[in-house]
């Protein structure tokens, strides 16, 4: 059986071995002499994944490994009267069965807010946050269907599941809160006994004077918008394996996670073991999209269990568990009002919204604050007031998923833009153009604080330019209006929908890189970022290769491994390319000084006379006068024959932790042309275009893959996917039979146009792009459907845009017209 080895060193070697294991002939050949950044270099990850030699968490097999099955709550809200494990304990092959009460005797309760808020934010933003922490297993109450109540460890997964069925739960039902507004009622059952109500957090931000600007505005529109609940749903569910080492008293935790260092920190607190004795590794991860972007109870429970049974333990989440215990996202209700003048210019924007956070709130106000701080979008809004409340319900907890609060903001702002246009009889594109921050206004201060506490400044770009390019790419506005009219004459309903956004990317606090020259002369980079399919091994090899004037093949990387670098943050929030490229740049810059000093010593010249040339350090303008990086690495070694200049420390390794001053702003406009079938309520996407700006593009092929992949998730979210609950808090979409993911037949061809405004906030000029594609599709499609059905005056202000909703709206409109 294929196995990941316990030691990560061996694991890394295997990856390198895999790189050379098959001869893949690449259709693309890098252009010699050009920087590798900017070239569509094929992925080094592909070969191992294509031959079935990827190493995902479920491929890990350790000698003596035991397997886990969870018992999860079948009801939304109940008091736990008793958990009877006795029959399970007697079942064949069972080693241990544990419930929450058992854990309470063995472990301290989970502590600490998972995402600490920066002091700058706390002093700037008016807020109140109560953050109850989820126990590793439910103790006195279950608070959502799927919450883990007990766990069974057995010789195999089959036996663990058999035994889990024998666990007897005695539960006393409590009323389920499924509607966040009802959960705020004075007489509502409170889900967390230490809280005074089901409101777990609130905050407010404002700029200008909304009251008077709204009061004096010539026009006002007020609407309710609802962005429904859906989720990341990676093809690989979650999974955790752990092993306790008696010799050193240390734990190794493998998790399908986006945040290995964060996991190590939480595990240290929970297990009461220093971080130096915990090693966290994310092997190949089968998709994350934010859903694996924080630490889950199972991440901490599995290592605890491994210590208890003194055997390696593995838990692989199944799909049903994933749907009902991995975090969901979105789920916001907005009451928004816009005041505008006769030209359609926004004078004031006011929004009060509720986020249904489910039973727990693992990342605090991260999502709703993103919503608030992105609400003004690419527009020059002089006055704004935004307030949010986070409300507990008996559903799966809500945590960031690709976009993380921004799709919700875009739904509000972009629908309002179309409503302004409709009110004034203007083109939606024209209303956007009139309100957009222009290229001449850059850098543009928004006068609202970002979640790092820094006042937002849009650092550059051409927002109207991107809008124009997107509309041009679907054929241009006049041509579309003609096409629409011609289709209408034939009884067909076509619509054009726009969705523009801005996105703060590359958020801090930091990411670090250790750059080392290996004795072989190859470059070695270790970093805290955690890939889940983005192609990081490829792009960071490109970036490092440029720093050292070597080929990408000469660069080795270790990511997602706490053993490789002492501090890291992880891959969430469109931040890795931005922060890690800067860290690699800075570490390389420092290391180069040392390399040049040693090379100068070897070549008996001055440092300033040297340059990097084809993997060597060479004297400028003197062919043949050079030393290889391997020579320099050997000369740097400590010992009798070192060739270092006097007084220089041994070794060739530099670690740099990049702490960005604040975020850098990506943006895009999406344009969708749809056809609505009135008889069936179906929406067919005829054309879809995205004009976006993520600064300098490291690898255009991979960037396009990220944008299109994100957009298809947004299309799925807009039209098909929903984590739906009934009035008892039962999840109605607990399998792929009910939770509809887009298939190849559901997606349109998507045109992507790059607009490249280099960021001024980091050395490579890059901006994040992982999430962006998923932000606009739901609202672009809502606008397109409204445009198609404009003669009926139908407004789509909530998602998902289901056939039955459209069919019903048309029926109602026809009845009222009749």
């Amino acid at each position: 059986m294929t196995s990941l080895d316990g030691g990560m060193g061996h694991y890394t070697d295997r990856l390198l071995h895999c790189e050379n294991a098959v001869s893949a002939s690449f259709a693309f050949h890098p252009v010699d002499g050009q920087p590798f950044v900017g070239q569509s270099i094929p992925r080094r990850e592909d070969a191992r994944l294509l031959i079935g030699r990827g190493q995902y968490i479920n491929d890990l097999a350790l000698p003596g490994m035991l397997h886990v099955a969870f018992v999860r709550s079948p009801v939304a809200h109940a008091r736990i009267v008793n958990v009877d494990l006795s029959a399970a304990e007697r079942a064949p092959g069972v080693h241990l069965a544990v419930c929450g009460a058992d854990l309470l005797r063995a472990l301290p309760p989970v502590q600490d807010q998972q995402l600490p808020l920066p002091a700058k934010w706390k002093t700037t933003v008016s807020h109140k946050i109560f953050d109850p922490r989820q126990p590793l297993l439910a103790i006195d109450r279950v608070r959502h269907v799927g919450e883990a109540v007990a766990v069974v460890i057995a010789e195999s997964r089959y036996l663990a599941e058999d035994a889990a069925e024998r666990v007897v739960l005695e539960l006393e039902s409590l009323p389920a809160q499924v509607d966040p507004e009802a959960a705020l009622a004075a007489d509502a059952v409170v889900i967390h006994q230490n809280a005074s109500s089901n409101q777990l957090a609130e905050f407010a931000i404002a700029k200008g004077d909304v009251e008077s600007a709204m009061a004096s505005a010539p026009h006002r529109i007020k609407r309710r918008f609802y962005h429904h609940r859906y989720a990341a749903v990676p093809m690989e569910c979650r999974g955790v394996a752990a092993q306790f080492d008696e010799r050193t008293g240390s734990y190794t935790i493998w998790s399908s996670t986006q945040v290995v260092h964060w996991l190590r920190r939480e595990a240290s607190q929970t297990l009461g073991v220093p971080e130096a004795r915990i090693h966290c590794i994310a092997p190949d991860v089968g998709g994350g999209f934010g859903g694996k972007g924080h630490v889950y109870p199972e991440d901490l429970l599995i290592p605890f269990l491994a210590h208890q049974v003194r055997r390696p333990v593995k838990w692989i989440e199944d799909r049903r568990e994933h749907q009902q215990s991995a975090c969901h996202s979105r789920d916001q209700i907005h009451d928004a009002e816009v005041g505008f003048d006769n030209e359609g210019r926004v004078l004031a924007l006011r929004d009060a919204f509720i986020m249904d956070c489910g039973a727990w709130n693992p990342v605090g106000v991260g999502i709703p604050y993103n919503t608030a701080s992105h609400l003004c979008g690419p527009y020059d809004v002089p006055n704004a007031a935004i307030s949010a409340r986070v409300v507990a319900t008996n559903k799966v907890p809500n945590a960031p998923y690709r976009g993380a609060g921004r799709p919700e903001a875009a739904l509000v702002t972009e629908r309002l833009m179309d409503l302004i246009a409709h009110t004034l009889g203007l083109e939606p594109m024209e209303v956007r153009r009139r309100n957009m921050v222009s290229a001449q206004q850059m850098p543009y201060p928004v006068h609202l604080p970002y979640r790092d506490g820094v006042s937002i400044v849009y650092d550059g770009g051409d927002y109207p330019g991107a809008l124009q390019k997107a509309v041009d790419a679907i054929g241009g506005l006049p041509a579309f209006r003609a096409e629409q009219a011609a289709a209408r004459a034939q009884g067909r309903y076509l619509g054009l929908g726009l969705g523009s956004y801005t996105e703060g990317t590359g958020v801090g606090p930091f990411e670090g890189a250790s750059v080392r020259i290996d004795p072989s002369g190859r470059l070695y980079v270790a970093a805290g970022s955690c890939p889940q399919g983005q192609g990081m091994e490829t792009i960071f090899a490109q970036i490092t290769a440029d720093q050292w004037q070597v080929k990408p093949e000469q660069v080795m990387l270790t990511l997602a491994d706490t053993g490789a670098i002492s501090m890291g943050f992880g891959t969430v929030a469109s931040r890795s390319t931005v922060n890690l490229s800067a860290a690699i740049h800075e570490a390389s810059t420092r290391l180069r000084k040392k390399v040049f000093a040693i090379a100068a010593n070897l070549l008996e010249c001055a440092d300033e006379d040297l340059e990097l040339r084809n993997g060597t350090v060479a004297i400028k303008g003197v062919p043949g006068k050079s030393v290889s990086l391997a020579d320099v690495a050997r000369a740097s070694r400590p010992g009798w024959d070192s060739k270092r200049p006097a007084g220089m420390d041994a070794g060739l390794e530099e670690t740099y932790y990049w702490e960005p001053s604040t975020v850098t702003w990506s943006y895009a406009s999406h344009a969708a042309v749809v056809e609505v079938d009135l008889a069936l309520g179906r929406v067919k996407i005829l054309r879809y275009a995205i004009a976006h700006d993520c600064g300098v593009v490291v690898n255009p092929m991979l960037a396009e893959g990220q944008i299109i992949g994100g957009a298809v998730q947004g299309i799925g979210g807009g039209l098909m996917e929903e984590m739906a609950y009934d009035s008892e808090g039962q999840l109605l979409s607990g399998s792929f039979m009910d939770y509809l993911l887009p298939t190849a037949s559901d997606v349109p061809s998507i045109t992507v146009i790059h607009q490249e405004t280099p960021s001024t906030l980091n050395p490579l000029g890059v901006k994040g792009l992982g999430e962006g594609g998923a932000i606009s599709p739901p609202v672009a499609l809502a606008n397109a459907v409204c445009d198609a059905l404009s003669e009926y005056g139908i407004e789509i202000n909530s998602t998902p845009i289901r056939p039955e909703a459209i069919w019903q709206a048309v029926k109602t409109a026809r009845a009222s017209h009749a």
Binding site: M1, T2, A21, V22, S23, A24, S25, F26, A27, F28, P42, R43, D46, A47, L49, L50, I51, G52, R53, G54, Y56, N58, D59, Y158, V233, P234, M235, E236, C237, D284, V285, G286, G287, F289, D318, R319, Q532, G533, Q534, G535, M701, L702, E704, G705, I708, G709, A711, V712, Q713, S735, F736, M737, L741, P742, T743, A744, S745, D746, V747, S749
Partner: protein, 157 residues
């Protein structure tokens, strides 16, 4: 109760012992050590576990190992010829048709069964067939393009 089962996978013989309830996917992964076949949903919807059984694509999560006895099974591990990738694998690289790679083996085996047929599928048939598997990363366009390109490449060999 475990019983001896002989599986023929990628023209290799695996003598294993498994309970009747053991799925083919689990037998391949855990008893044969062929972990390239992945489980995405275990209820036959996502297609990540697709393997080829007697020439037809099958969900390995919906088939018991005992049912596969005596039948010719192909998995992703058998696709490349030694160190040379199958044209489909090469096309996936060229078209950036994978990101996280988790669904990839299922798509490769599904597509292999299609493009190796005597009568290759036309574009619509290809799209219909590929719609039976799920991918959450790529948005599918590159997968469809890669399969189309490989179908052509295969016929030109």
């Amino acid at each position: 109760m475990k019983q001896p089962i002989t599986l023929q996978v990628n023209q290799n013989t695996y003598d294993i012992e498994a309970e009747p309830r053991r799925t083919l996917a689990d037998a391949l992964r855990e008893d044969c050590g062929l972990t390239g076949t992945h489980l995405g949903c275990e209820h036959g919807v996502c297609g990540a576990c697709t393997v080829i059984v007697d020439g037809d694509p099958m969900r390995a999560c919906l088939m018991f190992a005992v049912q596969a006895e005596g039948r010719a099974i192909r998995t992703v591990e058998g696709l490349a010829a030694g160190a040379t990738l199958h044209p489909l694998q090469q096309a996936f690289i060229d078209h950036h048709a994978l990101q996280c790679g988790f669904c990839t083996a299922g798509f490769l085996m599904l597509a292999t069964s299609l493009i190796e047929r005597a009568d290759p599928p036309d574009d619509q048939e290809l799209l219909d067939a590929l719609s039976s598997n799920l991918c959450r990363c790529t948005g599918y366009k590159n997968i469809v393009n890669a399969v189309r390109a490989a179908s052509v490449a295969l016929r030109q060999r």
